[in-house]
Symmetry: C2
Subunit: 505 residues, 2 copies
């Protein structure tokens, strides 16, 4: 696979618009020059091919150039979620042992337990003065090397155990993902992809590679800000955008109302199952929603229903993309017939080869060439996929994945807590919100606030249960085998929330 995609793109269409960000725009030739400067600076850090470069960055033009620069020097990108706490971050850093950590500024703390690595700010690298003897990269990228697919990045995802797992995505994975997407959604030479998803999420990263391969433009937002997003829709001749349901909900219920431009040909809606009322509101507003199902482990899309398909079957994500297969399996991995619900399995060239340094997790997820997603779904007689539930107990809130096991482990550390069960409750804006049933030790008392101040040091904000969705209970319901009966907890919390809350919006 020819990895230095930006260089190739700059050679093919140097003058085409590459990225538009906060009123600044770069052509592919300009973005390539920026990446070249960053690559020279990285080379000065004595990085060897295969070394890992962790990043802790907000979205910016420089952050996009850095993604290409890391590829140019043959290093592996490890984009950290900037919403993590210091201890969560330290855990990921100690697992990947990066040779270099690149921050927005110097205040990012890392736990002292982790192996110390060289740390630079992105600005340092941008304004790096080439030292004597360090040549800028040669104009033409080297021809592809045969052999193992080269790893582009390691992106963390938490498993059901709450232990972070590093998904290794290769250039091959991204190439096939981008190409299968092109051959399903189409590519228009004037496409502009409005992207507000973080670059440390596969959804945001995939837009960078798609745009570069296609020679089309990214309209990048620092994050999702309703007004800025609306302004961009009005001004920037946007043709495509990727949203999670929460964002679409806000856009559809905003005041003043969102003006959806004529140029917009598709809104790729993913990250979580789209509620029926949200799709109905989108239809009402004539927003061309394409419902998609994807995972970090598959470098984004597995299946996408185009707007016309969504009109026909609003709850389906369509058939798998080209060269991609799905099947529905029972607990033993046997294929189930149409209509039956089981685990969604995926096979295709966009599926990761392994988790980073975690053979047990890899062996569990990849069997006989199939990725066991942990997500539940079914196929209909047409072969269209319906995703019924993301990984059995996973909560998706505002596009972020939350693993109850991780939240429960953090809350359980509080000395007053005996046990805890975390579930997702439906929410029309967030998709789901995190709720907790907490059983205290005999004789202990604890306030909501005290519990939350405790957990805030251990868990990123988006993983915290909502203050008004924490319920202290005398005992958690158990199954016959003595495990916590999650469905019963969910039922109880839902009933309690309905009766005690003014309204779960």
């Amino acid at each position: 696979m020819r990895q230095d995609w930006l260089r190739w793109r700059a050679l093919a269409t140097p003058r085409r618009l590459a990225v538009l960000f906060e009123a600044r725009s770069l052509s592919y030739a300009e973005l390539d020059r920026l990446a070249d400067g960053l690559a020279t600076a990285l080379a000065a850090c004595q990085l060897k091919p295969g070394d890992r470069v962790a990043t802790h960055l907000h979205s910016s033009i420089e952050a996009i150039a850095l993604i290409h620069a890391v590829a140019r020097v043959g290093a592996v990108l490890v984009p950290l979620n900037i919403r993590l706490t210091a201890s969560e971050r330290a855990r990921q850093l100690s697992l990947v042992e990066p040779q270099l950590l690149i921050n927005d500024n110097e205040t990012v703390s890392t736990n002292s337990d982790s192996k110390p690595q060289e740390t630079r700010t992105l600005a340092d690298l941008v304004y790096h003065e080439p030292q004597c003897g360090l040549e800028p990269q040669a104009l033409r990228p080297s021809p592809p090397q045969p052999g193992e697919p080269q790893v582009q990045s390691i992106i963390f995802t938490s498993g059901t155990t709450g232990t972070p797992k590093g998904v290794q995505l290769s250039f091959d994975n991204h190439f096939w993902s981008a190409t299968a997407s092109a051959y399903h959604l189409g590519v228009h030479t004037n496409d502009r992809w409005l992207s507000c998803l973080p670059l440390y999420h596969v959804g945001g990263l995939a837009v960078v590679f798609r745009s570069c391969l296609y020679g089309t433009a990214i309209v990048l937002q620092r994050s999702f800000d309703l007004e800025q997003f609306q302004r961009s829709l009005r001004q920037d001749e946007v043709t495509l955008t990727s949203l999670v349901p929460t964002m679409l909900h806000r856009l559809l219920h905003s005041s003043p109302a969102t003006v959806w431009p004529q140029s917009l040909r598709m809104v790729l809606l993913g990250g979580a199952a789209a509620p029926a009322d949200l799709l109905a509101a989108a239809k009402e507003a004539d927003v061309p929603v394409a419902a998609t199902y994807g995972l970090t482990e598959t470098a984004s899309q597995v299946a996408t229903a185009l707007p016309a398909d969504v009109q026909r079957k609003p709850d389906s994500v369509g058939r798998p993309l080209l060269f991609t297969e799905t099947r529905i399996a029972d607990a033993d991995g046997n294929t189930l017939p149409h209509g039956q619900i089981g685990e969604i399995l995926v096979r295709g060239p966009q599926v990761m080869a392994a988790y980073f340094r975690n053979p047990a997790a890899t062996d569990s997820a990849l069997r006989d060439g199939w990725l066991y997603t942990g997500d539940m779904g079914r196929l209909d007689a047409d072969g269209d996929l319906y995703v019924l539930q993301r990984r059995t107990d996973m909560i998706v809130s505002g596009g972020e994945n939350i693993y109850p096991a991780e939240v429960e482990a953090a809350l359980r550390e509080h000395p007053a807590v005996a046990d805890v069960c975390v579930v997702g409750l439906p929410d029309s804006e967030w998709g789901q919100r995190c709720a907790a049933a907490v059983q205290l030790r005999a004789g202990e008392t604890l306030s909501h606030d005290a519990l939350l101040s405790f957990s805030r040091t251990r868990l990123a904000g988006y993983k915290q249960p909502a203050a008004n969705l924490i319920r202290f209970v005398d005992a958690l319901p158990l199954t016959a085998s003595g495990k916590i009966a999650r469905q019963e907890v969910e039922r109880q919390l839902r009933g309690w929330a309905d009766s005690h809350q003014p309204k779960i919006k």
Copy 2:
């Protein structure tokens, strides 16, 4: 590379339109079923992977299905030009030694010198009854096999010596060609590619693979017929078409005038350099011409200038496509600076690996990973390519390549002919027309008609010199080294034609 593209496409989008031909339309699922029947019939012929299947077919839906069926059984397609004479055809057949020859009907003669091969009509295969024990292909294509890229077809091209050379194109070559094209021209999900180029030309074959990979439709024509083409433009919601200059000339000068539909987003114009007056007429008629440069050896496009680029620089074919490189070299292969004229060299994943059983020709054409095209051109300071002349003495007439050496060798066989020189004269409709200066043996006489009846048994019609462009001369002009002075012959013939012909249209 995943070779059974039709099966994958039918799995991804079974209901999308695949092909429209003479008021008959097939979805991808239907085309896949047709190909499956043909593959079963081919399997019954005891074909082994790597065996060659020669075809001598007009364009049809079945001919498209056969291209996919040959891929499905792992055989190599050898699509013969149906305009060849029996002796030309026999020469190609004896070179490739196909296990099977598939005809439109049983009257296609082959020279008895060639090794006899099994012959079937396409209709036989379509109506083949599966024999006991022959299973239709399994629903899911097998995963890709690592190793050497698999050859999809052998397409004949004549060299400067006039000896046919078999260009071996792999699935990889076609994949990268189609993908680089998609990432330059764009893909719209509603694309319909009107194709009147023969399926035995790389231009026609490439449309089959592009459409299949993209999941878009081919509007297939049996051949270029002005009225039918105009009707299709009016009726079939065509968005793209491929034309050679002669066809575009006729469309622009027809009566009644051609109605170019709003849906048409690009006319890919290739096969020969486009005359300036043709491009001016296209601009006048607001036809969105994309000027392209491609070769059989590169599975079609190397560079393509989009319509906006053609407006800016009418005589350029733009920059090379993604992952493709061009350079201009002197006679020793040294790169020449911008602006200087030299041979066009091409490198990229769409370049063939070798000619079939012709190591001498392969070594001459491929050196250090670069394809020496034999075409002359230059690059400007922007890196845009200008093609000044196809292979030094090659004549391109109505999109067909004619090699003077081949025509001269055939004419020289006539007992009255001492020597002959064939050149191309410019023609606004045909691009070029074949003209000949013929020197007779002392004391011999020969009429135009007698010479042409002689050559008609040896050369396909499109290779014949025009009757009014044959000139009998006393002696051919020679260079200092005693070779025929081609440029001088061309100058003389051009002057003679201008003064003796009513008008070279």
